[in-house]
């Protein structure tokens, strides 16, 4: 199926709240997962016959397992405070992309089947039956949510639409309606160890190639070790870092940091993926299985620390969930938090003067920083409040001379999602992705006009891929999106360490 043409949003100097357009993107839905991929995750291959009963049962089950879901179904006052906070609403104008609009697709069913007023006065409270049309709406609009949690920051009750989207996706999977992109990828990680299905020999080959590149480039023999037992650090990084641009420059940056600091490290072919798409489909079980691979790798390689590379939702799962899902990690060095973010490692070494930088190496660039939603709103760094905002900025300021933030309303905990998170980074959703990128692109355009910004640094594999596309689409240059550790790698003074 070819993706239909769609109208290109214009980037404005001031971003007004758009008037809503009913069903503006009801035609958008990702490809459905094929039978074999559904089955390998333990879901039915196609829509089962008594799907309504099963879906409602599953919903009842989740309402008892997740307090968030139950409290959020009950507590929304329909106040509208969240209605203009979602980048997908701002970009598509579809009212079902207002966070509360999205929630109401499920809340209507909840009221009908789980509350008294909904049962007896459905019209009064907007209760609806779970019909085929409603299921289709769910499939469409719960895949137009990147689970970025921007809405949750503004809601007076703290209602997190991501929790609702995750539950909806899990309910749909349980009746055989899964999303191709996510479920295929999860299958690959279960089988091979990474999202790309890159087997060990190919990975070893790629890393060798990188070593050669770096030697050619700077004349220092920086290693990219794979499966080296008894290393200090197990680095778990998104597989896009192995070959995609601009991700790979980030990986080179991490390697240079470890090299310069004299920290022995290794990648693992068993856990060659930081991303955990189990979260996107709301499946605790899948998320846990993927997380356990990391535990197994750490045990097998007998490392002392686990460090994660630049990836937004991976860091959410790592920081917020890994200990719960796959802990306790009492076999690791207790002096370090488990796991650590590469920015925490770099920041720490920087503060201890183990790393020295020549900022002028980045003088050809004027930098702004994109706070990735999952890092900004679902994790922390450095164990200080707001560390997830200050650590990356400290690193940028230590490695460059020119840094400007975008507008306050579009950064830190109010950051806009890139438009491709939450398992939506697939070509069948390109219209949604480009429209959802609009708020970020507008903020970027303004900081470019005001301060002559040339590059945007990011610490998320999905953001980087999404922006590579969106930049071209909106008339920026492809290479204006860079990895934060690219800046680090370029400015790092090698082989002059004074420990």
């Amino acid at each position: 199926m070819a993706v239909k043409e769609f109208e290109k949003p214009e980037l404005k100097d001031y971003s007004p709240i758009p008037k809503l357009v009913v069903e503006a993107t009801s035609h958008l839905a990702p490809f459905k997962s094929k039978e074999e991929f559904q089955k390998s995750l333990g879901y039915p291959g196609e829509l089962v016959e008594n799907w309504q009963d099963i879906a409602l049962n599953k919903m009842g089950d989740l309402l008892k397992k997740y307090r968030s879901l139950r409290v959020y179904m009950d507590s929304c006052i329909q106040c509208g405070a969240c209605t203009d906070k979602c980048h997908y609403y701002l970009g598509t104008k579809d009212p079902n992309n207002m966070p509360v609009g999205r929630q109401n697709l499920m809340r209507g069913v909840y009221r009908k089947h789980f509350t008294l007023p909904g049962k007896y006065f459905p019209k009064l409270v907007g209760a609806i039956d779970l019909t085929r049309e409603v299921l289709d709406d769910w499939y469409s609009y719960y895949h137009q949510c990147s689970q970025c949690r921007r809405c949750a920051v503004f809601c007076p009750i703290g209602i997190d639409t991501a929790e609702v989207s995750m539950a909806a996706r899990e309910i749909m999977d349980s009746v055989g309606v899964g999303q191709k992109y996510c479920n295929e990828i999860i299958g690959k990680v279960h089988k091979i160890g990474n999202n790309l299905g890159l087997p060990e020999p190919a990975l070893a080959d790629t890393l060798e190639g990188l070593e050669e590149d770096v030697v050619d480039d700077i004349g220092v023999d920086v290693k990219f070790p794979l499966d080296v037992k008894d290393s200090d650090v197990l680095l778990v990084t998104p597989s896009a870092d192995f070959f995609a641009e601009p991700h790979v420059d980030g990986l080179i940056g991490y390697a240079k940091v470890f090299h310069q600091a004299g920290i022995s490290w290794t990648l693992s072919s068993h856990a060659s993926e930081a991303a955990n798409f189990g979260m996107f489909i709301g499946s605790y079980d899948n998320m846990r299985k993927l997380a356990l691979r990391i535990r197994e790798a750490a045990l097998e390689l007998n490392v002392k620390r686990i460090v994660f590379g630049e990836c937004g939702h991976a860091w959410r799962v790592a920081y917020s969930f890994l200990n719960t899902l796959a802990g306790p990690f009492d076999f690791l060095d207790p002096r370090y938090p488990v796991p650590q973010h590469i920015c925490e490692v770099t920041h720490d070494l920087m503060n201890k003067n183990v790393l020295q930088f020549d900022k002028t190496a980045n003088d050809d660039k004027i930098i702004t920083f994109h706070d990735s939603c999952n890092v900004a709103r679902a994790s922390n760094m450095g164990d200080i409040i707001g560390g997830q905002f200050s650590l990356p900025r400290d690193i940028i300021k230590a490695t460059t001379n020119n840094f400007y933030d975008m507008e306050e309303e579009t950064i830190k905990e109010k950051t806009f999602c890139c438009g491709g998170g939450g398992g939506l980074l697939t070509d069948d959703l390109i219209e949604l992705r480009m429209k959802g990128a609009q708020p970020r692109m507008e903020a970027l355009k303004r900081v470019i006009e005001e301060h002559g910004v040339t590059h945007m640094a990011a610490i998320c594999a999905i953001c980087k891929s999404q922006f590579s596309k969106a930049f071209q689409y909106y008339g920026f240059e492809l290479d204006q999106i860079i990895s934060l550790h690219n800046l680090v790698g370029d400015a790092l003074i090698m082989n002059k360490k004074e420990l």
Partner: protein, 245 residues
């Protein structure tokens, strides 16, 4: 004993039971459902006392709402704050002898003027529902009716200032209900309207979006500490997955 007295007497017993048992049951439900993962939103505090301060600020100042939309915040906050003041004023009907601070002139006067502020705030919220296209889109009939109900309670309450009601008898009635020695309720239309609407509100509370009041305290994005790396946060049902290894 008049029919009106018996009817309202029984109704208040029933409504009070529904309200308290209903809300207590919801709170029981919320507190027994696990939150299996750490999902606090920033700025997430690390300790429980700091969480308490965070919730306090949400409850008292509506901080998140303030950062989201100033108009809704203004109308919503005025309404809730005025409701609190009006409730203080009403305590004189349920305490005998009246608690000293409730009898203070300032509390009584504030409670009276708060009635007007409430109506103002509620009309503001209603206007947003009607005139802002996004809020209109999400509004169900119950959302309008809820506002109209509370507006009617406030206005009928204020009207008793203008049309004489035997307030002392009303107080005797409620004190009588509380100590199970009933007295007659005055048969005034405005009073009975006011009380009927309050009864309705009490009954629907545990079945409606008014549950946002207890809900806020149980919202994991706001009430969790940010200690995911320090401690495991495993729920009972998730633990059973581990034994299946």
């Amino acid at each position: 004993m008049s029919f009106v007295t018996i009817f309202y007497g029984i109704s208040f017993y029933v409504a009070t039971l529904i309200l308290f048992i209903g809300v207590a049951y919801r709170i029981y439900e919320y507190s027994t459902i696990p939150a299996p993962l750490k999902i606090p939103t920033p700025p997430a505090p690390k300790t429980k006392p700091l969480v308490a301060i965070r919730i306090f600020r949400e409850v008292v100042f509506f901080e998140s709402l303030f950062s989201a939309t100033k108009w809704t915040w203004l109308f919503g906050w005025l309404f809730h704050f005025a409701l609190l003041l009006a409730a203080f004023r009403h305590l004189r009907y349920f305490t005998d002898p009246v608690w000293t601070w409730v009898s203070w002139e300032i509390v009584q006067a504030a409670g009276h003027y708060a009635g007007y502020v409430m109506v103002f705030g509620l009309f503001g919220l209603l206007a947003r529902r009607i005139f802002v296209d996004r809020v209109r889109y999400i509004s169900n009939p119950s959302d309008y009716l809820m506002l109209i109900l509370i507006i009617s309670i406030a206005i009928s309450g204020l009207m008793m200032k203008w049309f004489h009601t035997d307030i002392y008898a009303v107080k005797q009635f409620f004190i009588g209900l509380m100590y199970f020695s009933w007295t007659e309720l005055p048969n005034d239309f405005i009073l009975l309207l006011h009380l009927s609407l309050v009864l309705l509100l009490m009954i629907i509370f545990p079945y409606s979006k008014l549950l946002h009041a207890p809900g806020l305290f149980f919202s994991p994005t706001r009430n969790q500490t940010d200690t995911a790396r320090d401690q495991r946060h495993i729920s009972d049902w998730a633990k059973s997955l581990e034994s299946k290894k």
